[in-house]
């Protein structure tokens, strides 16, 4: 099926630093999403993005989080500053319509 790529696969940073997670969505997809999965728990929705704008965000999407997709390049999730509770696997997804979201392999973020 369609492939979503995520870079890096693993990121380790010190608390308080900034981190940017990168997602390369499927080329003709229009909707983009970030989900967060803490070890042993279910995946939880963070934010979705369409036509250059955030459409909806959950309460997990703190003020320290931001997303963008400048000029059709990577869809990014930036966390500034990071906190210990941000340690998780972050999954990017994209879809052509509102259905059929395709997920990347995830970025494991470890905040020390």
């Amino acid at each position: 099926g369609p492939k979503v790529l995520q870079i890096p696969s693993h990121q380790i940073i010190d608390m308080g630093q900034m981190v940017t997670l990168n997602c390369d969505p499927v080329s003709n997809h229009l909707y983009f999403y970030w989900y967060k999965q803490i070890l042993g728990q279910q995946m939880e929705f963070l934010v979705n993005f369409y036509n250059g704008k955030v459409m909806e965000k959950s309460k997990l999407f703190k003020d320290q989080f931001s997303v963008e997709r400048p000029d059709g390049s990577y869809f990014t999730l930036k966390i500034q500053p990071t906190a210990l509770e941000d340690s998780a696997v972050y999954f990017c997804a994209s879809s052509f319509r509102q259905y059929e979201q395709y997920f990347g392999p995830g970025t494991r973020l470890t905040v020390l």
Binding site: G1, Y31, Q42, M43, E56, E100
Partner: protein, 115 residues
């Protein structure tokens, strides 16, 4: 309160048997239910999905049975193969409204198929 619940947490079957994975949900506005298959170290892969207007969806060895009245659905994997060993996630969405396809996931069922 969990919006989407899955059972069992783990399931073991022998090759050739039918594995049955269960899912239930709370929100009656949910109208789209995808199942995802995830192997260790990989992202979830869309396996099969159903919309609430249907009560059954079949794709090869994978079938979703959907009961809207009871807010329950199940994924049946017939002729299970060792390669089916993975974690299966049930998800739900009220896609088609103002919400742009936000998925609510269950905690997953870990399936092990022995040869």
């Amino acid at each position: 309160q969990q919006q989407v619940r899955q059972s069992p947490q783990s399931l073991t079957v022998w090759e050739g048997e039918t594995a049955i994975l269960n899912c239930s949900y709370e929100d009656s506005t949910f109208n789209y239910f995808p199942w995802y298959q995830q192997f260790p170290g990989e992202g979830p892969a869309l396996l099969i999905s159903i919309r609430s207007v249907s009560d059954k969806k079949e794709d090869g060895r994978f079938t979703i049975f959907f009961n809207k009245r009871e807010k329950k659905l199940s994924l049946h994997i017939t002729d299970s193969q060792p390669g089916d060993s993975a974690t299966y996630f049930c998800a739900a969405s009220d896609a088609g409204t103002q919400v742009v396809g936000q998925l609510t996931f269950g905690r997953g069922t870990r399936l092990q198929v022995y040869a």
